[in-house]
């Protein structure tokens, strides 16, 4: 549809068009809300649970293991799975405190923007074949730009809190996340170069095809590891994947890059003045974004929902393409890869000390950006060869 068509054909039928748009929005909104309720919140809560449980294991303590279910005769501790829910309920009941002297409106909407940003990432996350909200032709571009939305929210939170620690935290966030967008974007370009498309589904299907490494055709199904982008332009894309992962950690403010909120220096950074569910939204958003970016990483470099489990479902159990077996196999495939990356994030956090801001910046501009550039050039050469 170009401009002329819009002006000559669609404009005269505008009322219908508007009502159509409204209907489409409403129709889209309900499933979107359902998706939020069904996917994002459990992912966030499970993420919190996993973090606490794993950190407990790492630190030789139990972690949450009591809050379970108790309905009539059904009593079970459920390994503490209810802890996140209980905490969420507790947060809901807390006072929603707005610091006096702060920018009230900005303060109130900042967590919504952060949460909304990580929510929007789920729209393009390909959980499995046909199991995706949207598959725009600018998929990666969408991910990178929506991911940057969080910075605005955090800056708003830091500024509106009327607290010097919050402000310093927000400034750190802008400096850090803004910088790490660069190597992250360059790293994300490598799969794009291999595929020739920004569309996530095409990037996935390219990884399922028979692998070509440096122009050498390897006659095995690509789903069995070798087709994955992480092995493309071997070994450069392994480095690219590591760079991408480090950038994910930095963008998510995960330790060792948790400078914007680092507890021992800035009290709680931009979160200092937040309480109750608004604070909880930041956290839910963080864990949802962790899951989403892990999923994007798995999609870009580890074949997304294609891989050995999916291969087994299709070729071993003879699931029809697009059928239920195909979808379930793909979803399992996607989940294990994403969970692996997710757990790695937790593991890193509880092992390493925090970096300093100048070190974080040096790592970005002196090491990650040049390394990503080299990898991109090598990937381009490999793409030319094959």
């Amino acid at each position: 549809m170009n401009l002329r068509e819009l002006l000559t054909e669609h404009l005269p039928q505008m009322p219908e068009a508007i009502s159509g748009i409204v209907m489409a929005l409403l129709l889209a909104l309900i499933p979107a809300l359902l998706v939020v309720a069904a996917v994002v919140t459990p992912v966030g809560l499970l993420g919190v649970y996993a973090e606490r449980r794993l950190s407990g294991k790492i630190q030789d303590r139990s972690g949450p293991n009591r809050v379970g279910i108790s309905i009539g005769p059904i009593k079970h501790h459920l390994w503490g799975l209810g802890q996140s829910v209980a905490d969420g309920l507790k947060l809901l009941g807390k006072e929603d405190f707005v610091p006096p002297g702060g920018e009230k409106v900005l303060f109130l909407i900042a967590p919504l923007i952060v949460f909304g940003g990580s929510l929007a990432l789920f729209a393009v996350l390909p959980f499995g074949p046909n199991l995706v909200g949207a598959d725009p032709n600018v998929g990666i571009f969408y991910v990178l730009s929506i991911g940057a939305l969080e910075v605005i929210g955090v800056l708003m939170a830091g500024w509106a809190s009327n607290n010097k620690w919050s402000l310093i935290g927000a400034m750190r966030e802008v400096a850090q996340v803004g910088s790490y967008e660069i190597p992250m974007g360059i790293a994300a370009l490598c799969p794009v170069l291999m595929t020739g498309s920004l569309r996530l589904s095409e990037i996935i299907s390219r990884q399922a095809a028979e692998p070509v490494i440096w122009g050498v055709h390897i006659p095995i199904p690509g789903e069995l590891f070798l087709g994955w982008n992480v092995f493309a332009a071997f070994p450069f894309n392994i480095i690219t994947f590591v760079i991408f992962y480090i950038c994910c950690l930095a963008n998510l403010k995960r330790a060792p890059f948790d400078l914007p909120e680092c507890e021992s220096e800035l009290v709680a950074g931009f979160l200092t003045e937040y309480s109750g569910m608004r604070w909880g939204l930041f956290f839910l958003g963080e864990y949802a974004a962790m899951f989403a970016l892990s999923g994007i990483g798995a999609t870009l470099f580890l074949g997304g929902w294609t891989g050995p489990v999916h291969y087994l479902a299709v070729h071993g159990f003879g699931a029809a393409p697009g059928g239920i077996g195909d979808i379930v196999g793909g979803a399992i495939e996607f989940t294990w890869k994403t969970s692996l990356l997710f757990i790695l994030m937790i593991w890193v956090r509880w092992t390493l000390p925090r970096m300093r801001l100048d070190q974080v910046m040096r790592l970005c501009y002196k090491y990650l950006v040049p390394a990503a550039m080299v990898c991109m050039l090598a990937t381009a050469a490999a793409a030319l060869l094959g």
Partner: protein, 390 residues
């Protein structure tokens, strides 16, 4: 064309504390910063002032003992030992040899426990949470041990003037030895996790350098002084108790890693001192003599303390007598200056708190560093506010 304009910038005054997770209590540091760079900072102490010296003038000598627990509440044994020794010197009480051994064992175990805490919380200060919990796991065992012998987990009131609360029994000593073995076996693990961690080193090496001259001029003592390359340990160079009977090495920073006097070296001195304390306790347990027949007063009931013979019930020092006694505490040299006017309570009791002197040097070593470094520097100086503010 856009006209050029000066960007307005101004210095930011940030109040760190007294309610801040990294100031180890109620220290308040006002920092003048330019962005994140610290131009100047001033520690404001006194939030935990509890008039200890005034209290000492109003209670009897023996009654002041529990108050000394609350000075450096992470190493209460060491405070008690120092005060007990000061009072004994003032009152002219001689200790049996076994009691000296008991004191050495308890103070060195206290030092170990205190350093476990310091090393762990230093990890926490620079963002490594897991080593902190590991150290706390071990410290918990130390707390259990002290609780078993004294009844208190942190504030023991174990030492008495002329003795201590209880004799050490064999079962307890056995448990102490097991604890030492466990800590020693874990030490390398903690060092791998924290001390030799590249990121930790990046954060702490060459940061907050306290030169040898500045350390001496400002009266810095303890591990911080030795990290600045001064080979000085009161236990060895001005020995008290029975330290002269033992062989151990005093760790001193030699510039092999990092800069002499930086945060990492202060941390490293503590990690090394833990090993020396373990060795000292083991030696003392090996050599500890049995109590002689005339050494101690008979203990009539389990509630009565274990005192040397000849400790008077009413303690009175001669008029005008004064003593200054110091000991090597985990945080530096603790000193007690007691003056008597012939009464049953001190006429003047001055507590020379190591952390008070050490934290005074903070403004001189933080200028030009970042806020993150300030946290690392405060953590490496290792203060306890109970002692700073008294």
């Amino acid at each position: 064309m856009v006209p050029e304009r000066d960007v307005q910038s101004e210095e930011l005054v940030v109040n760190m504390g007294p309610q801040h997770p990294a100031t180890h209590g109620v220290l308040r540091v006002t920092c003048k910063t330019d962005g994140e760079v610290i131009l100047d900072c001033e520690p404001m102490v006194g939030n935990l002032h509890r008039c200890k010296e005034k209290i000492a003038e109003n209670v009897q000598y023996w009654q002041f003992m529990p108050y000394t627990d609350r000075l450096d509440y992470l190493a209460s044994m060491n405070n008690e030992e120092c005060y007990a020794r000061a009072a004994e010197k003032l009152l002219g009480i001689k200790l049996p040899e076994r009691m000296e051994y008991i004191r050495l064992i308890m103070t060195e175990a206290g030092r170990l426990s205190s350093h476990l805490m310091s090393v762990g919380t230093y990890g926490l200060d620079v963002g490594a949470i897991t080593p902190f919990l590991y150290c706390f796991r071990e410290r918990e065992e130390a707390n259990h041990l002290f609780e078993k012998i004294s009844g208190g987990r942190m504030l023991y009131h174990f030492m008495r003037i002329g003795g201590c609360a209880r004799d050490l029994d064999d079962a307890w000593i056995q448990r102490l030895l097991e604890f030492l073995d466990r800590v020693e076996s874990k030490m390398d693990e903690y060092n791998t996790l924290l001390t030799w961690n590249k990121m930790f080193q990046e954060r702490t090496m060459h940061v907050g350098v306290l030169t040898r001259e500045a350390a001496l001029a400002h009266g810095v003592t303890g591990p911080a002084l030795r990290a600045s390359g001064v080979d000085w340990d009161v236990r060895r160079d001005d020995p008290y108790g029975i330290y002269h009977k033992f062989k151990w090495s005093v760790p001193v920073a030699d510039g092999k890693y990092g800069t002499v006097g930086d945060c990492w070296n202060r941390h490293w001195m503590r990690a090394l001192e833990m090993k020396e304390s373990i060795s000292l306790v083991r030696q003392a347990i090996d050599k500890m003599p049995k109590a002689g027949p005339d050494d101690f007063q008979p203990v009539e009931s389990p509630h009565k303390p274990y005192l040397a013979k000849g400790v008077p019930r009413t303690m009175r020092a001669p008029k005008g007598a004064e003593v200054y006694v110091r000991s090597e505490n985990p945080r530096g040299e603790l000193g007690f200056y007691l003056v008597s006017d012939g009464g049953t309570s001190p006429y003047r009791c001055k507590i020379r708190a190591p952390a008070f002197c050490n934290i005074a040097v903070l403004p001189h070593i933080t200028r030009g560093y970042l806020i993150s470094d300030l946290v690392a520097i405060i953590g490496s100086i290792d203060i306890v506010l109970g002692e700073v503010d008294r």
